[in-house]
Amino acid sequence: MKPGFRWGSGAIPEPVRDMPAPLHPVLRKVAGQEARVLGDRADFLRTELDRVDTLVGEAAHTLEQALMTLSDGVKTQHQLALSVQDAMHIASRGMDSTDAAATVSATIVGTLDAFVGNMLEISKSSMQLVEEVEDIRTRSDAMESMLVELGEIAGQTHLLALNATIEAAHARKFGAGFAVVAGEVSKLADRSTALSATIQQQIQGTRDALRRTDAQVQAIASKDLTLAIQSRGESEALVQALDESTRKVRDLVGEMEVNAGRIETQVGHVVRSLQFQDLVHQTLQACMRELDSLQQQAGAWQGLADALDRGRDEGEALEVLAGSLAEADGMRFKTVTHDSLAAGDVDLF
């Protein structure tokens, strides 16, 4: 028997080699039991290890599929973020989106300021125009008063001409020339009266035109400025909302990028951790090989029982057993030494 040889459950005691013949049935019984027990336990363990290997394999496969789906989702999200960025880039005509929003806002506010400024100038000019119209109206009133006085003068002149004509008639032939002059004066008074009436009509027409102009200028001076100021306020609110919206979109895109980075890191951990399946599989394979060794030992014990049944010499049969057990014992396989899921070393030659 080889020194240091071990049975399945302990060392073979030296006295066994010199056992008396009557012990043969006991030895045969022990060998049969050892073969059965080792074989049964090996079968049980093999079944259980197979089950563990299958479960781990299925779990790993499920996790792989989940990882692929997650990865596709992250890619889609990344593409969406890029699309939003592109859209903002196009909308901002190649400028940075923040600068673009500020530029657009400044342009709109500047345009509206200029517009409102112009409207204020128009309003101011309109008010001056109203004052000018009022001045013209006052002057027209004065002219009308003067026309009344002119009418009175014409009336007095006409009366004077009439009196002169009467006095010329009293003077008979000496007043003939004077009567002609009185007639001419009367005609001039008539023309003056007619001219006064015409001027008065013109002044009335002018006053009507001024009244209409005044109403229109008043409307421009008040109504349009209110609308412009209101529009400016609404546009400023719109620009602020646009600024806020742009800032939020930019922040969201930034958050998406940060989130994608976090997921990428986690995906890296998952890829590393999923390799537990390979480590477990290799460990189980090493256990299976150990079971092969145990089953070979069971076979050796069964061989001893069979040899004794055939009446083989006990000593020779035990020698054969020792050889077979030693051979089975040499079937040890190295297990996976890595006992952690931390990334392993790298060595470039």
Binding site: E64, R272, L274, Q275, D278, A343, G344
Partner: protein, 120 residues
Amino acid sequence: MGKTILTVDDSSTMRQMIGFTLKEAGFEVLEAGDGLEALERARGQKLSLVITDVNMPRMDGITLVQRLRAQPEFRFTPILVLTTESGLDMKQKGKEAGATGWIVKPFSPEKLLDVVNKVL
């Protein structure tokens, strides 16, 4: 056209994880489950890199490295061994067979890509 990498491992999970990492980085990836299948897949291919496990059925990774090095078209192709084996004796065998580098499992995607980019 992208660079093509052949990955060899009897574990489908490992092939998936290696393939996932490399494809994400833009590489074309071919897969084989053992050394013999790897030799079949490599035939006629212009490979930029081979990444192989050691312990595999039918033909192990060390033998695969030797067989590839014996072929003129793969004499200078980088070959990385990715394995759970971390013993110096196995590393030495890999080096003598002609491997370019030795990576002990599990790998982190970042580190694997770092090594791949170094040897390419």
